[in-house]
Amino acid sequence: AQSVTQPDIHITVSEGASLELRCNYSYGATPYLFWYVQSPGQGLQLLLKYFSGDTLVQGIKGFEAEFKRSQSSFNLRKPSVHWSDAAEYFCAVAYSGTYKYIFGTGTRLKVLA
């Protein structure tokens, strides 16, 4: 079955430190990949997405993600984390010919002052 894995349930980093959140998807042709952020008590906001082309994509709030087909990964990165980045991060994948996202289980980010 098609699936998305976010191996890290919780991650804690200090403010100003770099961040990498991992996402792996099950093999499938032409994946469309997304990262969303959910702040406490809020809905989901799109950070960035990858469809094709340059495998390094830039998003909002200083985030970027790199698509690596050989590793079936789409990891999210930020060079310097701010306290306001504390939130839940969700990776999602959709496949050509389907009509739905498959979400990972999320990674909760805690930022230490």
């Binding site: 032409t30 989901l44 799109l46 050509s96 009509y99 999320g106």
Partner: protein, 115 residues
């Protein structure tokens, strides 16, 4: 301006009751979705509608009935509520026909608690 709005934001009710959650989008999108987020934060698609027609119906109990009076609205009616229905329900919309590559825009969620 709110792009995707949901009412109510919180809903506390007794087992066995019937309740509805409303969703409206002012983005002019053609497709709308309902998701359920459980206590472990797992998000799963329930339904999607494109121009008032059902295109996704996951294995959801038939106590859940979506209704789309027009393409800007997708309401979720739940009959005979059960404890396991307690969750956060998110509405979302996308511009096209609901294809894989479309960006979905989410509402703020409705937190349902069944006692």
């Amino acid at each position: 301006d709110t792009a995707v709005s949901q009412t109510p934001k919180y809903l506390v009710t007794q087992m066995g009751n019937d309740k509805s959650i409303k969703c409206e989008q002012n983005l002019g999108h053609d497709t709308m979705y309902w998701y359920k987020q459980d206590s472990k934060k797992f998000l799963k698609i329930m339904f999607s509608y494109n121009n008032k027609e059902l295109i996704i119906n996951e294995t959801v109990p038939n106590r859940f009935s979506p209704k789309s009076p027009d393409k800007a609205h997708l309401n979720l009616h739940i009959n005979s509520l059960e404890l396991g229905d307690s969750a956060v329900y998110f509405c979302a919309s996308s511009q096209g026909a609901g294809g894989a590559g479309e960006t979905q825009y989410f509402g703020p969620g409705t937190r349902l608690l069944v006692l």
